[in-house]
Amino acid sequence: MTSNGTVVEVRGLKKHYPVRQGVFSRVAGSVRAVDGVSFSIARGRTFGLVGESGCGKTTCARAALRLVEPTEGDIFINGTNILSLSGKHLRRARRGFQIIFQDPYASLNPRMTVGAIIGEGLKVHRMASRRERRRRVTELLERVGLSAGAAGRYPHEFSGGQRQRIGIARALALSPAFLVCDEPVSALDVSISAQIINLLKDLQEETQMSYLFISHDLNLVEYICDEVAVMYLGRIVEQAHAEVIYERAMHPYTRALLAANPLPDPEKRREKILLGGAVPNPASPPQGCHFHPRCDAADEACRLQYPKLVEIGGGHLVACHMVDQKSKTSQ
């Protein structure tokens, strides 16, 4: 951990997938799934990454953990650039950063008992004897709200919410400083998802873990995150403190997203600023600002050049020519 309490720092992260064509699999181009994303997360804080499907948020999270190999960038976790590690060193470093997944059905090996799943990290890193491991698994199970008897059972015997708890216990076993939560509740029912969210908040309070929280649910991100970044086609278009994003969003995409977001209140049924079209194919994003074909305010500059992500005060970052111009003229 560095002195300013930053646990995670990601700089200029890129992940480009080659598009292959023809018999000889020639590289014909690339999908820029993540295209220069930077952020940092302080100890005990939650950083939210929101966006629609295909915006690259999941790839970004996985690249940040080197579960997919980034094309470019730097990732400092606890002060170590994990991109400089390889083989055994990288595997050892993985104790410090863990992930929980969206799909509680796919993320647990159906052929392993819950005890083996949760104890696997300890076993892989030889962190505990068999006896200690069993004790630790019991402890973890109880911490996440399951009974110790669950250790001998198989994942299919549990409900979605319980499986998500098992996945959390697996990640917790290694006492990571950084936890990626990749849509952890979007497959769960509301009442169950509330339990999981409360659990994640409690755990963060206890252990001061830093969370990277990925979600498409704006209401949820607003509730749980300290800082929020909105992604569109591989890039962050706006980033600010959670309240700022929801109260003073500047980027037209963020605004459209917020407007489209249904609120659980029939009194707030507003005539929506409807965003036309859908997210373009990431293999051939529009020239200039990726958002300009769907943007009402777009002008010539937007068609030509991708706007830089600039700070407009108070840590509020926006990548939009219009906002940039406005803030310049007002200065």
């Binding site: 647990l108 009974s147 059972r153």
Partner: protein, 336 residues
């Protein structure tokens, strides 16, 4: 809560077994195959000239009289007909060796003495059938065993690592598949000077691994991206552990199903080769070779066709039924 004992619940394979047991036809087939296997295992005690137990000069020879060095040179057929005074012997249920010919009793129809008749040199067909089951079954198991081992190794490497390794292995698979299997087998057999059963097993295995490899590769490609495999990597588990502890156990069920069908296929291939005269060399008995002989006597000796034909048919039917039962039992819709 911590006092609660760790409850063990049935593992996946226990559930598969339970599901399999619900299918009566498949269970019957399993019993049938077990019967065939028992016959093959105990062939020397079921059909032989030599007795199972022999008491000679106060010494008891058991269980396999044919393994004692001092008894090796005995011509059992003659010896048993003239059993010396004071000696006692217990004969197998079919007291005739598959190789004992009898030129006075050629092509005899089924009778009390020869329940399945005799062949063109007077050998007992039942005895040959019993010994032949060893060839057929061992060819099936060993050949498929080789195919599965090779297939799993190459398939998992190709599927897990992808990229160049995958491209190379996949192209090799495609090349092997391009050759019609039967002719490839004939070529391999033609290349070796003296065909024996091991070459046959090896050849069938070498030709058959591609199917398994493709299956395993596909499963690995699919499972590699599954979140539980990603989770294992995230925990810092090395590649070998991810491959063999996480992915393989989830990929093995379809392989097992295809292997079961593969055994049936290998038996049929061996029979086919023997029928064409490329199989095990005479006088070794196999179901295929008896059938091959039957070709010349189709009109005179129906029993030469009927019994080996029925045995091949039944064993293949059984393996296929087991395979089907297994396929249904390991169905992912089982929700485990």
């Amino acid at each position: 809560m911590s006092e609660a004992p760790v409850e063990k619940s049935p593992s996946y394979w226990r559930l598969v077994a339970r599901e399999f047991m619900r299918r009566k036809l498949s269970v019957a087939a399993l019993i049938g195959v077990s019967g065939f296997i028992l016959v093959a295992l105990f062939a020397p005690w079921l059909a032989n000239d030599a007795p199972i137990v022999l008491v000679r000069d106060g010494r008891v020879y058991f269980p396999s009289t044919f393994t004692y060095p001092e008894l090796r040179s005995i011509d059992w057929a003659y010896y048993m007909d003239n059993l010396p005074e004071g000696q006692w012997a217990l004969m197998p249920p079919v007291p005739i060796s598959p190789y004992r010919d009898d030129i006075f009793n050629t092509l005899r129809p089924p009778s009390r003495e020869h329940p399945m008749g005799t062949d063109d040199v007077g050998r007992d067909v039942l005895s040959r059938m019993i010994w032949g089951s060893r060839i057929s079954l061992s060819v099936g198991f060993v050949a498929v065993g080789i195919a599965v081992v090779l297939g799993v190794i190459f398939g998992s490497i190709a599927g897990y690592f992808g990229g160049m390794v995958d491209i190379i292995i996949s192209r090799i698979i495609e090349i092997v598949i391009c050759f019609p299997m039967f002719f490839l087998l004939l070529t391999i057999i033609a290349l070796v000077a003296r065909v024996n059963i091991y070459y046959l097993m090896f050849a069938i295995g070498i030709v058959g691994w591609t199917g398994v490899a493709r299956l395993v590769r596909g499963e690995f490609l699919k499972l590699r991206e599954q979140e539980f495999a990603v989770a294992a990597r995230a925990l810092g588990a090395p590649a070998t552990r991810v491959m063999f502890r996480h992915i393989l156990p989830n990929a093995i069920a379809p392989v097992l199903v295809s292997a079961t069908f593969g055994v049936a296929g290998a038996i049929l291939t061996e029979s086919g080769l023997s029928f064409l005269g490329f199989g095990v060399p005479p006088p070794t008995a196999s179901w295929g070779s008896i059938l091959s002989l039957a070709r010349q006597y189709v009109y005179q000796a129906w029993w030469l066709t009927a019994f080996p034909g029925a045995a091949i048919f039944l064993s293949i039917l059984c393996y296929n039924l087991i395979g089907e039962g297994l396929r249904d039992a390991v169905d992912p819709r089982l929700k485990v």
